[in-house]
């Protein structure tokens, strides 16, 4: 063990370079600008191709599925139905992170138009596609319900008979279906004495707000490859998914095999925004591969994304009691979620978004009722903003409405009531969150109180301005682990379960690792996950990765450093207290050594690997930070011009602020802030899944319009707030979602300011603006 470390002059030059807070080129950049990057669909594949047959009725009993015609087509290997899976002894075909309410293929019943009913497996994708049109599904129509109000009536058709928790996540252990018809889960929060609060208020104001179902529109559609190994009774799954460890667990469970027999690999993803979470098409493709005992690939079209995962619609009632001088003393928020046919993660959404439904304000008397409702529509899943985008649309529009009721500036009202850093929220301590700073930043930037917008000379064009602010939780509790392998040449491999969806986590983690060890970032390789080697990671969601994986990596780096100190102490025969690892060197009382020198000379046989492990878990509890491991906060200022003759409007200028805690890379943080804002611009102006008789009629990007380059406001300012999270790595926390939340109400408020039209239902279309103008003049 005691190879002699070569002695180097003690005064060898040591330069300190911190990578934190600096822009570094993304490590995946070269591959992305040359086309070399590999998404799942780009990987070499040999095997069969699948095509899904979907329900064309919103609610029905499956009478028969005839597969013979499809099966007789040359090149078709098999057609698999839900009944096949139900009768198979190798699968228990129901999945879900909160309830196991979703069949891998519809069994007995279909619950929405677009639900997978059967799948064709063929030698070529074109054959699978043709054959799928030959599969005939006969359904006996059942009464369907697509509206959350009707769905909860006593005589409503029930989508599910019963539901108990899937008992996977601690925070969802208690979920159960409600007594109320079709309510998957009802969350309630009571703080203070609501009735007394309303009595004490000078003004009590109540209104309803709504958001439609929308879709993430990740440009890379769902693609999954599954390969069943019959000899080992094991699976390899390659998939674009934000939660590879959940996929592993769920696939292992449904096939009744240990997790170690399910290998999940996640290549780069072409966007996800929450859509590719928990399990989507993975159990189906795995089942198909198991059925034909061969590798199967399913690449869905972008239209099929609308059949697979959407953002819940909402109907929200907000009632607020306020004093004449602008103190909000009571608020009741009732939010009913249109969660579609399967609950997926909606119970957590109604709980977490329910908790922050009162917005960023410290209100002594609060009541929140938040109900996830089953309807005959595609399942609502996680989406950037995780429900807060919907509740904040209501509450941040409402705050402006309340301000007008009492004749106060809406920003003044916000400032008076916003929860302070280290203040209270929902009656308990909240710690550092940065919401007041985010609000102040946009207020100062535009000199809100000092300037008045000049109205254009054209009488029919009206200018207006609006602001919105948010406070959002992150998934709590959760766990992230990291392994950092230090090689004898001083380079490192970082292995985590964190997935690269475009947010840049590979590079951010490389920065934290390189900085921690004091080595150049070019010596760091961050791997995309494979669950066979990557330690557990709850999810790449909720903007949690920098915070959780960053902390896990810091732990792993510390472990590496401890080992380096031990080695140097052993090999040099000096006290550990005379050794520190700093700036890429092992500094000792007898000289400074490079990290590689210490590793290389400690091991023999041509190399050696030092293994650093880091674990990071957060707890949940309604005290201080435990409601959320950190808080996401941000604000938006929007300035609009409305053409009062047509209702058309443009956003002339916007300012978006968000609290990064500490920006590990400011350019990447700005990218998250603007990207989140522009996505929400779509939710504000155009995006809406339109249903007729339970069927979505705009299920294509031809009809479902997302923002193009010309839609983005030309005058834009991004403000990075750095409140320094006490628990974050270098003070950093997540920043990917705040402005998805604040943009729609800021624009809605600006339109109200410009022309008096208060649109309370997203998206804000010209016809709604015109109607609003009419109503305002009545």
């Amino acid at each position: 063990m005691s190879t002699q470390i070569p002695i180097i002059e003690p005064d060898r030059k040591v330069e300190k370079t911190s990578l934190i807070g600096k822009h570094v080129l993304r490590l995946d950049g070269e591959s992305k600008v040359t086309g070399a990057v590999e998404y799942t669909d780009d990987l070499p594949f040999e095997g069969y191709y699948a095509e899904v047959i979907r329900s064309n009725v919103p609610h029905g009993e499956i009478v028969s599925i005839s597969t013979e015609a499809a099966e007789s087509i040359p090149g078709v290997i098999a057609v698999v139905t839900g009944e096949d899976l139900e009768n198979a002894d190798w699968i228990s075909p129901y999945v879900g992170p909160a309830f196991r309410d979703q069949p891998v293929l519809a069994i007995g019943k279909v619950r929405y138009v677009g639900e997978p009913v059967a799948a064709v497996i063929a030698e070529r994708p074109d054959i699978a596609a043709v054959a799928s049109t030959e599969v005939v599904v006969k359904c006996k129509k059942l009464r369907s319900v697509t509206d959350v109000v009707k769905a909860r009536k006593e005589d409503a058709p029930l989508l599910h008979e019963s539901g108990d928790s899937a008992a996977i996540f601690e925070d969802l252990a208690m979920v159960h279906h409600s007594e109320e018809p079709n309510v998957a889960y009802a969350y309630e929060l009571n703080v203070g004495d609501l009735e007394k609060g309303f009595e004490e208020a000078d003004v009590v104001f109540e209104k309803n707000y709504a958001t439609p179902m929308v879709q993430h529109v990740h440009l890379e559609p769902f693609v999954t490859i599954a390969s069943y190994n019959a000899a080992k009774n094991s699976f390899k799954i390659v998939t674009g998914n934000q939660t590879p460890h959940f996929v592993r667990r769920e696939v292992a469970r449904i096939f009744g095999i240990p997790s170690s027999k399910v290998e999940v690999e996640v290549p780069q993803m072409g966007g996800a925004f929450g859509s590719k979470t928990y399990v989507r098409i993975e159990p189906l493709v795995a089942a198909l591969s198991r059925a034909v005992k061969a590798p199967v690939k399913l690449r869905q079209t972008s239209s099929e994304s609308f059949d697979t995962s959407v953002r819940d619609g909402t109907q929200t009632r907000v009632k607020t009691g306020v004093t004449h001088d602008g103190v909000i003393i009571a608020q009741e928020v009732e939010v009913i979620w249109d969660s579609g046919a399967y609950a997926d993660i909606s119970p957590r959404k109604v709980k977490k978004a329910g908790y922050t439904a009162p917005g960023a304000y410290d209100i002594p008397n609060v009541r929140v009722i938040s109900k996830s409702t089953y309807t005959n529509k595609p399942p609502g899943v996680a989406y950037r903003g995780f429900g807060v985008a919907q509740t904040a649309w209501a509450v941040e529009s409402h705050i402006d409405d309340v301000a007008r009721e009492i004749g106060m500036d809406p920003v003044e009202l916000r400032i008076r009531n916003i929860t302070q850093d280290g203040g209270t929220y929902n009656g308990v301590g909240i710690g550092i969150h940065g919401a007041p700073q985010c609000l102040q930043a946009v207020v100062d930037e535009v000199d809100w109180f000092g300037t008045k917008l000049e109205q254009p000379s054209k009488k029919h064009i009206k200018k207006g301005r609006g602001i919105a602010v948010t406070l959002k939780t992150t998934i709590t509790p959760s766990t992230s682990e990291a392994i950092v392998l230090l090689d004898a040449d001083g380079s490192v491999n970082v292995i985590t379960g964190g997935t690269e969806i475009g947010q840049g986590i590979i590079t951010t983690l490389a920065q934290i690792t390189a900085d921690g060890l004091g080595i150049g970032i070019e010596y760091v390789n961050v791997n995309t996950p494979n669950t066979n080697s990557a330690p557990f990671n709850t999810s790449t969601t909720s903007s949690r990765s920098t915070f959780h994986l960053g902390n896990a990596i810091l732990g792993a780096v510390d472990e590496l450093k401890e080992q380096l100190v031990e080695f140097a102490s052993e090999d040099l025969e000096i006290e550990k207290s005379d050794i520190i690892v700093e700036d890429g060197f092992v500094k000792t009382s007898v000289g400074n050594y490079s990290i590689s020198e210490v590793v290389a000379s400690h091991f023999v046989g041509g190399g050696g690997t030092l293994i650093g492990k880091g674990y990071f878990s957060t707890k949940e509890g309604r005290e201080n930070r435990y409601e959320s491991a950190f808080w996401m906060t941000g604000a938006t200022y929007a300035e609009v011009s409305v053409d009062t003759r047509t209702g058309k409007y443009s956003i002339d200028k916007w300012v978006n602020s968000a609290d990064c805690g500490k920006a590990i890379d400011p350019v990447r943080c700005e990218g998250q802030i603007l990207g989140a804002a522009v996505q929400a611009l779509g939710h504000t102006m155009s995006e809406e899944m339109v249903f007729e008789s339970g069927q979505q009629v705009n299920k294509s990007l031809l009809d479902y319009k997302v923002p193009a380059i010309g839609d983005v406001p030309k005058e834009s300012k991004i403000i990075i707030v750095e409140s320094g999270d006490p628990n974050g790595p270098h003070g950093a926390k997540g920043v990917g979602e705040s402005n998805t939340v604040t943009v729609p109400p800021a624009i809605g408020n600006a339109i109200r300011d410009a022309c008096g039209a208060r649109v309370r239902e997203l998206p804000i279309t010209p016809d709604k603006v015109l109607r609003g103008i009419e109503e305002a003049s009545e």
């Binding site: 080129l25 993304r26 995946d28 950049g29 070269e30 591959s31 992305k32 600008v33 040359t34 086309g35 070399a36 990057v37 590999e38 998404y39 669909d41 780009d42 087509i73 040359p74 090149g75 074109d126 054959i127 596609a129 043709v130 993430h216 529109v217 990740h218 440009l219 890379e220 559609p221 780069q268 993803m269 072409g270 966007g271 925004f273 079209t301 972008s302 969806i501 475009g502 947010q503 840049g504 350019v667 990447r668 700005e670 990218g671 603007l674 990207g675 989140a676 804002a677 522009v678 996505q679 294509s700 990007l701 031809l702 997302v706 193009a708 380059i709 010309g710 983005v712 030309k714 834009s716």
Partner: protein
């Protein structure tokens, strides 16, 4: 039965990124399928598949084309440029200045739109070496990016133009 399965076979000759290729293909193979599946040029991505998102943009004889809508037979006798050939169109450095600038300004996140965005931007700079913000917005109006919010793309294209004009 669908005619794709028994589609007529065509023989075509064309150039992709400077390389001459002749092959037989079914009549209804799309260009994006030819590139990705037959030639394994997977840099070109397919998003919407209906001509709206611009992910699959390539140049055919220097014209911007959505390869998901184009039949492969139509490139007979023509020259196609894909992302894999972009760097070679610029002799002065290893990468095309657009590639360098997109990296510097993070004109991408997930990268799925990036090949199409870069190819469209190249076509823009070919026609208009010094585009204004407005010119860029106009020209890239059919390239959707769901991640970046676009401003970094505008900055990257302008910086590339500057590099090329220097």
């Amino acid at each position: 039965m669908n005619n794709y399965i028994e589609a007529t076979i065509h023989e075509i000759e064309f150039k992709v990124n400077g390389e001459e290729i002749s092959m037989t293909i079914p009549a209804n193979l799309t260009l994006v399928e030819l590139l990705r599946q037959e030639l394994r040029l997977t840099g070109t991505t397919e998003g919407c598949g209906v001509g709206v998102c611009g992910c699959c943009t390539v140049l055919i004889d220097n014209k911007v084309v959505a390869s998901c809508l184009e039949l492969a037979v139509n490139i007979d006798g023509k020259e196609v440029l894909t992302i894999e050939g972009l760097a070679d169109t610029y002799q002065l450095s290893e990468f095309h200045p657009l590639q360098t600038s997109f990296r510097e300004y993070e004109g991408f996140q997930c990268g799925y739109c990036t090949p199409g965005m870069l190819i469209s931007s190249k076509a823009l700079l070919d026609q208009n070496p010094d585009p204004s913000d407005e010119d860029i917005r106009e020209f890239l109006s059919e390239n959707i990016c769901r991640c970046t919010g676009y401003d970094s793309i505008i900055m990257a294209v302008k910086s590339a133009a500057k590099k090329m004009n220097a």
